[in-house]
C-alpha cells in the first residue's frame, strides 16, 4: 500500500508555548532548545559546512526566534517558523562563507536512477538487484551517511530533512522554499543514489 509520509507535526498547545516564550519563560525556551537544536545544527551544516559557523548560525537563529516571537502570527507551525529562520540565517552565512557549496540547479529529470546498462533493450532488468545479505546495518548507515554528505546541496537537504529528521513533505517545502514537485524530484534522486551506493558496497563486501 502506498503511504504518503504525513508531517508528524503536533500543533496542539502551540499557542501556550508561544505565549510562554513571549512571557520569557526559561523552562519553555529550554524545552524548545533541547527539542530542536540538534536538527537546527544539522540543517545549518548543510549550508555552511563548518561546525563553528553552524553553531553561530544556531545561536543567531535562536536570538532571531526570541526577538521575533512577538511578530509570529502562527500562520505556520512554530517548528516550521523556527527552521525557516535557521535556513535564512544559514543561507546568508553560506553566501558569505567562500567555502560553502553554491546552490545547485534544479534536479534534472533525465538523470537515471539506475545505470541504463542494467536493463535490457525492452526495459526489463538485465542485471537485477540482488537481496542484501552481507552488509551489517551499522556499515550500511556509514555508507548512507557518507553518500548523503557527497550529494548536491538541495538533494542533501531534502533527504536529510525527510528521511533523517523524518519531516513531512509540506514542512520541507516550507523551510527550503521549494515546490512540492521539485521536492519530490530531489528526494527521488537522493534516495536512488543512496540505494545505489549501498548496493555497490554490498557487492564489494565479503
Amino acid at each position: 500500500m502506498a503511504l504518503a509520509r504525513t508531517s508528524g507535526e503536533d500543533t496542539t498547545g502551540e499557542g501556550a508555548l508561544v505565549a510562554a516564550l513571549r512571557a520569557a519563560d526559561e523552562g519553555v525556551f529550554r524545552m524548545l532548545v533541547e527539542r530542536h537544536t540538534p536538527a537546527m545544527r544539522r540543517l545549518a551544516l548543510t549550508f555552511v559546512r563548518s561546525q563553528a559557523v553552524a553553531d553561530e548560525v544556531v545561536q543567531e537563529a535562536w536570538l532571531g526566534v526570541l526577538r521575533g516571537i512577538d511578530r509570529f502570527e502562527e500562520r505556520s507551525s512554530l517548528k516550521t517558523w523556527i527552521f525557516r529562520i535557521v535556513a535564512n540565517v544559514a543561507r546568508t552565512r553560506g553566501v558569505r562563507e567562500s567555502r560553502s557549496a553554491p546552490f545547485s540547479s534544479f534536479a534534472s529529470a533525465d538523470e537515471p536512477s539506475v545505470d541504463p546498462d542494467r536493463f535490457q533493450r525492452d526495459g526489463a532488468w538485465a542485471s537485477p538487484p540482488e537481496p542484501w545479505e552481507r552488509l551489517e546495518a551499522a556499515e550500511m548507515r556509514r555508507v548512507i551517511d557518507a553518500t548523503i554528505e557527497a550529494l548536491p546541496l538541495q538533494q542533501r537537504q531534502v533527504i536529510s530533512l525527510r528521511d533523517l529528521e523524518g519531516w513531512g513533505a509540506d514542512e520541507v517545502c516550507a523551510v527550503l522554499e521549494i515546490s512540492e514537485g521539485n521536492e519530490r524530484v530531489l528526494l527521488h534522486r537522493a534516495r536512488s543514489k543512496v540505494r545505489a551506493a549501498v548496493e555497490e558496497h554490498e557487492r564489494g563486501a565479503t
Binding site: R30, P38, Q59, G123, R141, D145
Partner: protein, 85 residues
C-alpha cells in the same frame, strides 16, 4: 470503456518508486505500479531495498545536545530577557 494502460517496464518502475511511496501517483498509475511489483520479484526487491535505505537513514539521527551549547543558548536567553524587561 476504459482503455487498458500499457504495462510498466522495470526501467520505468525504478523512476516511479518515490512518487509511489509519496502517494502522488494517480489511481491508474498506482494500479499499474502495484500490478508490476506483484509480478516482478526484481522490482519488488528494488522497492524493498529503497525502504531499507530509508529506514536506516532515519537511524542516523542523534538528538544529543552538548551541555555547553545549551548553556550558551540559555545565556542568550537571559540577555534577551534582561533587555526585554
Amino acid at each position: 470503456m476504459m482503455l487498458r494502460a500499457p504495462k510498466l517496464k522495470c526501467q520505468e518502475v525504478v523512476e516511479l518508486v518515490t512518487d509511489y511511496l509519496e502517494g502522488s501517483l494517480s489511481r491508474r498509475d498506482r494500479r499499474r505500479f502495484e500490478a508490476h511489483i506483484a509480478g516482478c520479484p526484481h522490482c519488488s526487491e528494488y522497492l524493498a531495498q529503497l525502504r531499507e535505505t530509508i529506514e536506516q537513514t532515519g537511524r542516523l539521527r542523534e538528538d544529543d545536545l552538548e551541555p555547553a551549547v545549551l548553556d550558551e543558548l540559555l545565556d542568550v536567553f537571559a540577555e534577551w530577557r534582561r533587555d526585554r524587561l
